[in-house]
């Protein structure tokens, strides 16, 4: 029976295998795990954005009930432990490498943001650890803080790190400055726009957690942690921090409840737990509460940009120049330098043929939580800038927004942009056409007029986005400063009874790998999905892997599985040829059965698997027993999902409330394995995009550096009633650079949607810009300050 017939094949909307255990409470998250003799950690955090630590007195706390041990930065330093690292080195235009301040596991003599780790209390219970932490007497000398991004590079601004004068970590550039200047000089029209990309706080459903333990007998450390990439965590903890040698450190990322990037990084808390476990001789557990998550998870976005677009008289784009100031927070997080540079500047060509681009990005330290990758990572910021300025250009030239895009679309592939990327395939007009049809573009004027009769303002906004994902060719990222390669591994283990375990370096924390990967393997081997187990997240099981981020699990992780399956098939055919006494070239493998071409000889999969392990009569020189193959897959290019989102809003001018009345997303993700899961990814991505555009904002008090939005009382997470029912469509151009033709769908929704929403709001109000999030208060204020002519429209 073929998998197409069972409804499990590639392209089938198979229900997620993992959901049964999640929705019945049978998942195993880090906090569900209890180790024998386990203790609890509580982290004392800085209440100040910037202060010198004169003295830490832990004597009273040490005597408190239940306390096992208290550790400060001094203990960590005395033990010779290194600090946390940034795994990507970016250089400034003058060739100097980025200026990196130390990032200690526990603060030594200075705290640099509210929430910075000052001490770790280990106690018998969490309540005791917390009570003891309150008894630690820290003598702070508070200092002025650098908080408001726009002011942090001034001479007068307080310094975050002495290594980085004027708080400037790097002054990066990309593109061709002289060509860009020349194009601007001959332009008929120049459109200018200042944009803010608001700071976001990730808020995965499961907060970060860790259990560190140490086995004295073997000298092996084990860390259970909420990680998107346990092998990378192990590498950093052993090679850079120096907790333990790699072969004496096991990192397990069990079920993980969402990451959105925030769980890529190696943080102080899990490092301290696994390090201190050996000191106290007992397992140490820590689970963040939501308040800690707000303070200490790496935040996302936070850019200030000035953009200029040069056009000729026909509305053809000639050049784009951009100056961006990117907030890095108080310390460089694991990949933070790459996000506002190589994941941002490289996407500024959008879907358009722009002959010259020049972008400058200053990475700036502030006394706020570290900023790193968050769903989309650099690409939402690029897409927002491009699609906002293109829309503005349309309005200022009087060319229809769809038409100005059509005039500038890239139409032949491969296409080399001026900013590194070589787009491999796409049909941008197809998605624009499909989206305009789905939103009933022709009917919009009538709907707008009808809304006006009800006293409401309607607007329509486009976003023709492209992103680069499936990161990434190791050679390419290596040449751009990455400290790692970005391949993926897979191992296919066929058991004697014919069922299969697939070990993958792609970690699943909501993406549904246990389903999609199993669909691929089952359809390839012609066996039911239930006979395929996907194994991930344990460095003792999977040899190495680069993990899940940058929408890479399909394009890179599944490609590695394909490669391993190719090897399995090659060997299995050899065995089949031997067993059926035929030439290997004559063996055909289809629907789980090996046949000899032109004969009625056949051998089912299960029988072949058993034969591989009995190995009776194998010619040992030619066929080894067993059936297990591994592969490493290194992509040859990024993949380039693209599409068109169109948002229609209706605004109540009395209250400033924006309602999304229609949201259309037409995406080109290449080959789709499971359309239901892909739709879910798009839904989630758009929800986060709507969050950024209308609701979410990480705000620090500019004077004190206190996090104002430190709970759900003030940080506005999207709720179901904030979201419309999404109207999705798909177009398809196959990705030529991987065997399945896949592109990646995990981040597209969050990348594409914000500019569509803001373009719709500015269209409805007849204004040039409104800052995200476009809250009711901001929309109302914008309406009050509209020029009269616009108000009268």
């Amino acid at each position: 029976m073929s998998n197409a017939a069972t409804g499990e094949g590639i392209g089938q909307p198979v229900r997620r295998k993992e959901d049964f255990r999640f929705i019945t409470g049978n998942g195993h998250y880090t906090d569900d795990i209890a180790r024998p003799r386990q203790t609890w950690a509580y982290f004392l955090r800085s209440p100040h954005a910037h202060a010198k630590i004169r003295k830490i007195d832990t004597r009273a706390a040490e005597a408190a009930p239940g306390v096992v041990a208290i550790f400060t930065g001094k203990h960590v330093a005395d033990d010779g432990l290194g600090g946390l690292i940034c795994g990507w080195t970016v250089s400034s235009k003058d060739g100097t490498p980025m200026k990196v301040g130390p990032h200690p596991i526990l603060a030594l003599d200075t705290v640099r943001y509210v929430g910075d780790h000052v001490a770790m209390v280990v106690a018998e219970t969490l309540a005791e650890a917390r009570s003891a932490a309150e008894m630690i007497d820290v003598d702070y000398e508070t200092l002025p803080a650098a908080v408001a991004l726009a002011a942090c590079q001034s001479k007068e601004a307080p310094q975050v790190h002495p290594e980085a004068p004027r708080n400037t970590c790097f002054e990066w550039e990309l593109g061709n400055k002289p060509e860009t200047e020349a194009a601007f000089a001959k332009a008929d029209k120049i459109v200018k726009l200042d944009l803010t990309n608001n700071r976001l706080i990730p808020n995965a459903m499961e907060p970060r957690a860790a259990i560190g333990e140490y086995d004295k007998g073997s000298g092996v450390y084990t860390l259970h942690t909420t990680s998107q990439n346990p092998h990378v965590a192990r590498l950093v903890l052993s090679a850079f921090v120096g907790v333990a040698p790699e072969h004496k450190l096991r990192v397990i990322a069990p079920d993980v409840g969402g990451g959105f990037g925030s769980k890529i990084f190696i943080y102080a808390e899990e490092t301290a737990c696994v390090w201190a476990a050996a000191k106290v001789g007992r397992p140490i557990k820590w689970t963040a509460d939501r308040s800690e998550a707000f303070l200490s998870d790496a935040h996302g976005r936070d850019h200030l940009s000035h953009a200029e677009l040069a056009l000729d008289k026909n509305g053809k784009f000639l050049a784009l120049r951009v100056k961006t100031v990117a907030n890095l927070g108080a310390y460089l997080s694991t990949f933070s330098a790459s996000v506002p540079t190589y994941l941002y500047g490289t996407l500024l060509s959008g879907q358009y043929d722009i002959p010259a681009i020049y972008v400058e990005v200053d990475g700036v330290y502030t006394h706020t939580a570290p900023v790193d990758a968050y769903r989309g990572a650099g690409r939402p910021e690029a897409t927002y800038l491009v699609e906002r300025i293109v829309e503005t250009a349309a309005r200022e030239t009087g060319i229809d927004p769809a038409e100005i895009r059509r005039r500038n679309f890239i139409r032949s592939f491969p296409h080399q942009t001026p900013v590194i990327m070589a787009y491999d395939a796409g049909d941008y007009e197809a998605s624009l056409d499909a989206a305009m049809k789905a939103v009933d573009h022709k009917g919009f004027p009538a709907r707008k007029a009808e809304a006006e009769k009800r006293g409401k303002l309607r607007g329509l906004g486009f976003s023709s986005y492209i992103e680069a994902c499936g990161i990434a060719p190791s050679a390419a990222v290596g040449s751009l400063g990455a400290g790692v390669g970005l391949w993926e591994s897979a191992e296919v283990r066929v058991n004697p009874t014919g069922n299969v375990e697939v070990l993958t370096g792609s970690h699943s924390h909501g993406q549904g790998h246990e389903t999609t990967f199993a669909q691929l393997v089952a359809s390839r081997l012609g066996i039911p999905m239930e006979q395929v187990e996907i194994v991930h997240g344990d460095t003792d099981k999977v040899q190495f892997g680069m993990g899940t981020y940058g929408s890479r699990s399909g394009a890179v992780g599944m490609s590695a599985i394909v490669k391993a399956l190719d090897k399995i098939e090659t060997k299995a055919k050899k065995i089949a040829a031997h067993l059926m006494e035929a030439a290997v070239e004559d063996i055909v493998f289809e629907n789980g059965t090996f046949t000899v071409q032109g004969t009625d000889k056949s051998l089912p999969w299960a029988q072949l698997a058993l034969s591989a392990y009995t190995a009776h009569g194998f010619p040992s020189a030619e066929i080894e027993p067993g059936l297990k193959e591994g592969a490493f897959y290194d992509p040859t290019n990024f993949t380039f999902p693209a599409g068109c989102h169109i948002c229609e809003v209706e605004i109540d001018p009395d209250t400033g409330v924006t309602r999304i009345v229609n949201f259309v997303a037409v995406d080109d993700f290449g080959t789709i394995i499971n359309p239901m899961i892909v739709e879910g990814q798009v839904h989630g991505g758009i929800a986060q995009g709507i969050g950024q555009a209308l609701l979410e904002h990480g705000v620090y008090d500019p004077a004190s550096g206190q996090l104002v939005t430190g709970s759900y009382m003030d940080y506005c997470m999207p709720r179901a009633d904030d979201l419309p029912s999404f109207n999705l469509g798909f177009t398809k151009t196959v990705c030529p650079s991987n065997p399945l033709g896949m592109k990646g769908c995990g981040e597209a929704g969050a990348i594409a949607s914000p500019p569509a929403i803001i373009n719709a709001i500015t269209d409805a109000l007849g204004i040039r810009d409104i800052e995200m999030p476009a809250t009711p208060a901001r929309v109302w204020a914008a309406i009050q300050s509209r020029p009269r002519a616009a108000a009268a429209e």
């Binding site: 009570s131 209250t655 939005t709 003030d714 940080y715 997470m717 809250t775 204020a781």
Partner: protein, 265 residues
């Protein structure tokens, strides 16, 4: 949370006795504000006296021209009560819109008004409906009860027993929720009844719930949305934060008042 003594008295009298005895006690009813506060270690009471389960405080009765609601009656019970829906549908609708289902099935009316969160809904209803608050010591008029942000006329050892709501002729509550917390950023309760006409505003004021005399006068002349539509509320004394300026809140009071009058019919 910090450690505290926990008591679950079997009667209001026992609760009063425990309250008098303890060092720094707190009454616990639905716990929808107090428990999160304790969990964040923002309060350190010596004793929690749990009156949430007292049957004698959990009732709804319609008698004469009023509905009597026991202090430990949950929001969901008020929202679903046939008596409240019949005689005071605006109050039932208000209760239906408090917080989320978990809050409505745990939180109590007595706890809400005794806490007097400046953004909670019930104070607007009490003030606009001329409610009588019966305590273990006396009867307090709604006009006298709410004394400012988290402040009430309640004295130490005094427990809210019952809130009496006279039937309105017309009433409606319109809430503009804070986008993040969904508490009232501006909530306006308008009513017409034996007490005349009242307009009470919650969420917006720095000192908690307040009445808008100018709107009441205008509605007395003409009960219609247009009567309040052009009344501008001064921004002075209103809250301002990242969710909105005082001017925005002032504007929303007019908009919500207009909509409330329209809804009241």
């Amino acid at each position: 949370m910090y450690q505290f003594n926990y008591a679950r008295p079997k009667s209001l009298a026992e609760a009063e006795a425990l309250l008098a005895k303890a060092d720094d006690p707190k009454l616990l009813a639905g716990g929808q504000t107090l428990i999160p506060t304790l969990k964040q270690r923002l309060a350190m009471p010596s004793d929690l006296i749990d009156i949430g389960g007292l049957k004698e405080l959990d009732f709804i009765r319609a008698e004469g021209n009023a509905v009597m609601i026991g202090a430990a009656t949950k929001h969901a019970t008020v929202a679903q009560s046939p008596d409240v829906k019949k005689h005071n549908p605006a109050l039932a609708a208000l209760a239906e819109g408090i917080g989320d289902p978990a809050v409505r099935h745990m939180g109590t009316i007595g706890g809400s008004i005794a806490n007097n969160d400046p953004a909670s809904d019930y104070p607007a209803a009490c003030l606009a409906l001329d409610a009588k608050i019966h305590t273990t010591k006396r009867l307090i008029e709604a006009d006298e009860f709410f004394k400012g942000m988290f402040e009430t006329a309640l004295e130490d050892g005094e427990i809210v027993k019952e809130i009496t709501f006279p039937h309105p002729e017309k009433a409606a509550y319109m809430k503009f929720p804070n986008p993040a917390s969904r508490y009232a950023m501006v909530g306006v309760f308008v009513s017409k009844g034996p007490w005349g006409i009242r307009v009470a505003v919650t969420g917006a004021g720095q000192d908690g719930v307040f009445r808008v005399k100018e709107m009441e006068d205008a509605l007395a002349k003409s009960w219609s949305p247009d009567a309040v539509a052009s009344i501008k509320i001064p921004a002075k004394g209103l809250n301002a934060d990242l969710h909105g300026t005082a001017e925005y809140r002032a504007h929303l009071i007019t908009v919500m008042a207009k909509r409330a009058v329209a809804a009241a019919g």
